[in-house]
C-alpha cells in the first residue's frame, strides 16, 4: 500500500504542497486530480523520490521510498522525453536495465511491450523519427517494461488519437490485472472515471476530496433526474420540487437537478399521472461535477 501522510514541500516562500494525504491499496487504480499548479506533479515526484518532502511521510508497503523501492516503480511524466538518436528497442532495453531487468527477461519483456503497443515496425528506428503518438507509446513501454509494482502516469492520454488512447487504456487495464498499482493524473475526467477506483482531488497543495466515486457521490447533496418526454406538464411538475434547477432540455428529454433526499418513487408515480413516461433516470453526480465543486473558486 502506498501511504502519503501530510506531505509538505515548499520552494523558498512558495508552498507547492501544503498537506496532501491519501492511501492507495495494492492493485488499485488511483486518480489524482486538480487544476494546474495544484501540486499534483510535486506530489508524484515526492512519491518517486525525485524530490524530498520537507515534511510528512511517504511509504510503500510500510517502507520509506529509497533507491531499491523506486526501482520497482514506473513513471511517465507530463513532459515527455526520449533520446532522439536512440532506437526504440534500445531505448526500452535501457530503461528495463535501469529498472533492474537482466537477460533473458530483459529481452523477453522488451519484445512483449513492443508487440503489445504495436511498435514492431519502429523497433529499429530512432525515436526522433517517430510520430508523437508512437513516442508516447515508447515512453509507456519504458515506464512499464519491468512490470512495476506501482506506476505513476501524468497525463498519459494527452496527444494520443482515440485509437492509441484506447490501446493505452487496455494496456493499463492489463497492468492492473497483473497486480500493478496505478496512479493516474489527467484532465480528461471521463477517462479517469472509467479507469480509476479511488480519486483524490487536490487544490492549492491540499486535499479537497478523497474516496471512490460512489462514496463521493453518496455525500453529494443533489441528483439529476432525466425524464422523457419533456412535456410542459412534466417540466412544470419537476421544477416545482424544492430547490429544483433545470440542467438541460433537449428535444424530448429534460434533466433537472433536485435534492438528493427526494422520494424518487413518489416522483415517478406523480409524473406517470401527468404523462405517459418512457424514460426516467436518477443520475449520481459525475466526476466532473464533484471535481468542479471540490476545487471551488478555481473552477471559475
Amino acid at each position: 500500500m502506498l501511504n502519503v501522510a501530510h506531505a509538505y514541500k515548499s520552494y523558498g516562500s512558495k508552498s507547492a504542497v501544503r498537506d496532501v494525504q491519501f492511501s492507495v491499496e495494492n492493485g488499485d487504480t488511483f486518480g489524482l486530480l486538480g487544476p494546474n499548479g495544484a501540486g499534483k506533479t510535486t506530489t508524484m515526484r515526492m512519491i518517486l523520490g525525485i524530490i524530498v518532502p520537507d515534511g510528512g511521510e511517504i511509504t510503500w508497503n510500510g517502507k520509506r521510498i529509497d533507491d531499491e523501492v523506486r526501482r520497482r516503480f514506473g513513471y511517465l511524466p507530463e513532459e515527455r522525453g526520449l533520446y532522439p538518436s536512440v532506437k526504440v528497442r534500445k531505448h526500452i532495453r535501457y530503461f528495463g536495465a535501469l529498472h533492474g531487468l537482466r537477460e533473458p527477461r530483459l529481452t523477453e519483456r522488451t519484445d512483449w511491450w513492443i508487440e503489445r503497443l504495436e511498435l514492431g515496425e519502429y523497433a529499429n528506428v530512432a525515436c526522433a523519427e517517430l510520430s508523437k503518438g508512437n513516442q508516447q507509446k515508447v515512453q509507456m513501454a519504458c515506464a512499464a517494461v519491468h512490470g512495476p509494482e506501482l506506476i505513476i502516469l501524468d497525463e498519459p492520454f494527452s496527444g494520443l488519437d482515440p485509437v492509441n488512447a484506447e490501446k493505452l487504456s487496455q494496456a493499463l487495464t492489463e497492468l492492473k490485472a497483473g497486480g500493478t498499482t496505478v496512479i493516474l493524473s489527467s484532465h480528461q475526467l471521463w477517462q479517469l472515471e472509467s479507469l480509476c477506483d479511488v480519486f483524490c482531488i487536490i487544490a492549492h497543495g491540499e486535499n479537497r476530496a478523497l474516496g471512490t466515486l460512489q462514496s463521493l457521490g453518496a455525500s453529494w447533496p443533489t441528483r439529476i433526474v432525466r425524464v422523457t418526454p419533456a412535456t410542459a406538464g412534466v417540466c412544470e411538475a419537476l421544477l416545482r420540487l424544492p430547490n429544483a434547477r433545470r440542467r438541460t432540455h433537449e428535444k424530448a428529454t429534460i434533466e433537472v437537478e433536485v435534492l438528493a433526499d427526494t422520494d424518487f418513487s413518489s416522483l415517478l408515480r406523480a409524473l406517470v399521472q401527468i404523462e405517459e413516461i418512457v424514460g426516467f433516470q436518477v443520475l449520481d453526480p459525475s466526476l466532473g461535477d464533484i471535481y468542479l465543486k471540490a476545487i471551488g473558486a478555481e473552477a471559475r
Binding site: 524530490i51 523506486r70 526501482r71 533520446y83 535501469l98 529498472h99
Partner: protein, 407 residues
C-alpha cells in the same frame, strides 16, 4: 554496481556514436598527421626556403663575402659594381641585393630586398663577422674561426637528465603531452556537458532521475567520458607514433631537437607517463563533473556558452601556465600553481616531466586533487540533482547557491 555499469556502457556507446566525438577523433588524427608530416612535405615541395641574393662589392669583396653569406642565402651572383633595382633582381631571379663597402678596416652593408621583413640584419651581421674581424685585426681566417668556435659545454646539474639534449627532449615531450592533455580534457568535458544538456532539452532527465539516483547518473556519465577520453588519447598517441615514425633522431641524443623528441615516444620516462595518466584523470574527472553540473542547469542550448565560459577560462589559463612552467619548473609561481586546484593537473604534470619535484610536493598535489575531486563530486552531485529538474532561463549565481543549499 549494476546501475553504474548500465549507465556507463550506454553512455560510452552513445559517445562513441556521437558526431562531435567522431569529428574530434578524426580531426585530431589529421591535425597530428599535419603537424608531423607537413614541415617535411613543404620542404620537399620547395627546393630552397632561403632567399636568393646578389652580392655586390669591388676588389673581390663580393666573392669573399658570398662564401660567408651562403650560410643564410642562396647566392644568385656576384658583381663588382652595380645599382640594385627591380630589373636587376628579376634578371638574376633574386630576392635580395647585398651591397658591401669597405672603408679603412671597417665593413658596411646595404641590403635591397623585395621582402624586407623577411631579411634579417642579424643573420647578415653574423655571416660577415669573420670577414669584418679579418679586415680589422689582420688575424688569419683560421685564427678567427678557432676563436668563434670556442668550445662551450652545458652540463645540467641538479637535474635527472644526463645532457642538455635529453632535457630539451623532455621539454618537447612535455609540450606535446600537455597539449594533448588540454585537448582531451576540454573536448570530453564539453561532451559531458552536451550530454547533460541533451537530457535536459529532450526532457528525459526527469525519467532518468525517477529510476536512478542522480549521483549514480552523474558518476556513470563522467566515468564514461573518462574511458572515451582515454581511448581518444590512445588513438592520438598511436597516430603520433605512426606519422612521426622515422622523423627526428630520437630526442634523447644530445643532438636531438625538442621537436624530434616529441615523436620519440619510446624515450618517454615511466615517471612522465605515470604523472600524465594520474593528472589527466584528476583534470578530466574534475572538469567533467563541473561541466555536467553546469549542463544540468541550462534548459536551452543557447545558454550553454554563458555557463561554459567561466569554467573554460581557468582551464585555458592553466594551459598557458603549464607552457610557461616547462621553461621554469622550479620557479616559485610554478610550485604554487602546481598546488592550486584546477590548474594543478596541468602544471604538476609538466613539472614532473621536465624537472625534479620533491616527493612531498607530488604527494601534496595528489592530496589536494583528491580533495578537490571529492568536493567537486559533492557539489556537482547536489547541483545535478536540482538542476535536472530546473527549467526556464539559465539560473543566476544566487539561484545556484540557493539550489546547492536546498539539495
Amino acid at each position: 554496481m549494476q546501475d553504474y555499469l548500465t549507465i556507463f556502457s550506454e553512455e560510452v556507446v552513445r559517445k562513441l556514436q556521437s558526431r562531435p566525438f567522431r569529428i574530434a577523433l578524426i580531426a585530431g588524427v589529421l591535425l597530428l598527421a599535419a603537424i608531423t608530416r607537413l614541415p617535411s612535405l613543404l620542404e620537399h615541395l620547395s627546393p630552397s626556403s632561403s632567399q636568393r641574393a646578389i652580392v655586390i662589392g669591388s676588389d673581390g669583396l663580393a666573392e669573399n663575402a658570398a662564401a660567408f653569406l651562403k650560410r643564410d642565402f642562396t647566392i644568385a651572383g656576384t658583381l663588382a659594381q652595380g645599382s640594385p633595382d627591380a630589373t636587376m633582381l628579376k634578371s638574376y631571379n633574386a630576392d635580395t641585393a647585398i651591397v658591401l663597402k669597405q672603408s679603412g678596416g671597417s665593413l658596411a652593408a646595404v641590403v635591397y630586398a623585395k621582402h624586407s621583413s623577411a631579411t634579417s640584419e642579424n643573420a647578415i651581421r653574423r655571416d660577415l663577422l669573420p670577414l669584418a674581424l679579418k679586415n680589422m685585426s689582420g688575424l688569419s681566417m683560421q685564427q678567427i674561426k678557432s676563436a668563434l668556435d670556442m668550445p662551450v659545454v652545458i652540463r645540467p646539474i641538479a637535474s635527472r637528465f644526463g645532457s642538455r639534449g635529453e632535457e630539451e627532449a623532455a621539454a618537447g615531450m612535455a609540450s606535446g603531452m600537455l597539449f594533448l592533455l588540454y585537448l582531451a580534457i576540454i573536448m570530453n568535458g564539453q561532451l559531458v556537458m552536451s550530454s547533460a544538456v541533451e537530457e535536459k532539452t529532450s526532457r528525459i532527465a526527469e525519467l532518468l532521475v525517477a529510476v536512478v539516483n542522480p549521483s549514480k547518473l552523474l558518476a556513470g556519465k563522467v566515468l564514461a567520458a573518462t574511458a572515451v577520453a582515454l581511448l581518444q588519447l590512445v588513438v592520438w598517441i598511436a597516430a603520433l607514433v605512426f606519422f612521426g615514425a622515422g622523423i627526428g633522431s630520437g630526442g634523447a641524443s644530445p643532438n636531438g631537437s625538442p621537436a624530434d623528441a616529441l615523436f620519440a615516444v619510446g624515450n618517454i620516462m615511466p615517471v612522465t607517463i605515470a604523472a600524465f595518466v594520474i593528472f589527466f584523470l584528476f583534470g578530466l574527472l574534475q572538469v567533467s563533473m563541473m561541466m555536467a553540473a553546469a549542463g544540468s542547469l541550462v534548459s536551452r542550448t543557447e545558454d550553454v556558452g554563458s555557463l561554459a565560459l567561466p569554467l573554460l577560462l581557468p582551464i585555458i589559463g592553466a594551459l598557458f601556465i603549464g607552457i610557461a612552467a616547462i621553461q621554469m619548473p622550479d620557479a616559485q609561481w610554478a610550485v604554487v600553481a602546481s598546488l592550486t586546484p584546477i590548474v594543478s593537473p596541468f602544471v604538476m604534470f609538466v613539472r614532473v616531466a621536465v624537472g625534479v619535484v620533491p616527493a612531498w610536493q607530488i604527494v601534496l598535489a595528489i592530496g589536494i586533487n583528491v580533495a578537490v575531486l571529492a568536493l567537486t563530486a559533492w557539489g556537482s552531485g547536489r547541483l545535478y540533482r536540482v538542476g535536472m529538474l530546473l527549467y526556464g532561463r539559465a539560473p543566476t549565481l544566487g539561484q545556484i547557491v540557493r539550489a546547492l543549499r536546498a539539495a
